[in-house]
Amino acid sequence: MTTLERRYRWLMRAYPNDYRADYLEELVGILLDSAKPGQALPPAREAFALITGGIRTRIIAAARGAAWTDGLHKGIVVLAVLNLAVLIPYAGRIPLWLALSAAALLLILRGHVWPALPVAGVVAVKLTAITMGRPWLDATLLPIFPDGWWAGPALYGSGGPIAPLASNVLIVGGLLILAASRRRPRTHSWWWLATVPLVAGSVPASLDIDAGSPTAVARICLEVTLLVGAAVAGHLTADPRWAIAASLYAVPALVALCEGIEDVTRQDVAHATLLVVLVLAAAVVPFRARHRILL
């Protein structure tokens, strides 16, 4: 095997496994037929086309099955990631609830709807209790301050109770709908877990955008990346599942903005506007794409 062939095979990893199993040899054959004698490096244009082609193929392959159940499931996964991320700075104070929130995320991620329901349910009740200052389920000492080196306010100390409640109602309500649909959702990638540390400690109500805090910047960057990704995926597949997930994500963030309307800054309004524009783009794009054949 030549160096060029090895490099082309490496680039082909951008494609899903089943696609590579069927077409790897065919594509590598054509790439090598088109190569100049003695060439060792893939041309940048071919390399870029293979990477984008692989990502495109992965997105198109992901748009299978009922769009609304998968979109709902994706949205619940994102909300469960954020639920867990919010609790991370308080791990030493509420280890049980952090562990249960992590368990809920894992069960939701892998599509185990029925086992996820009671776990997500008790987490929802406890988080609502914390926001309302009630000692439900166990005697947690309130307010809950972050552990050692984490700076920041007490858990849910900078916003009202409605946004966290909205998020948990969407998670539990969504799980109930998925359970009633009797279709087991697909498993989602373990890569979703990698987003948890990126947004650890970020609460929509206390995003310190003015000060450019690393937590706020990381969350907004991830948010924009995922929402633009949702619009691109909708454009490529003409499928609304990513728009459904994006809409679910936006609900608690916008509720948090409305809840703290008295203290809202221009940056908060700009952030909310960006969120709404990206969600609307993700929602509209699939319907426009239906009329087009994309190359």
């Binding site: 065919e26 594509l27 054949i293």
Partner: protein, 112 residues
Amino acid sequence: MSKRSPGLSEQTYFVLAALLDGPLHGHAIIKKVVDLSEGRITLPVGTLYGALDRLAANGIITIEREEIFNGRKRRYFRITDEGDGMVRAEARRMQQAASVILRPRSLGASFA
């Protein structure tokens, strides 16, 4: 009311045009597109196969057969009747659009 344009890009147009004379495999499509476009369009392999997959999924082309060449599988793609109609309609549309610019001007237009 005219039917909405299917949104054929120039690359798709030349891929479909390359298949009008009969089924071709991927490498032959790339070479024929270069010929037809007089060297203007060189399709990267990743772009071509993404397009072929989408065109096949939309019933505009189909896989005619598979064969083994030099130990590697390769597929031959054939344009369907729908694809044939689509690319010819696009050609007529472009011909009409080109005629607006390229037709001989009437003498009166010079003095307008």
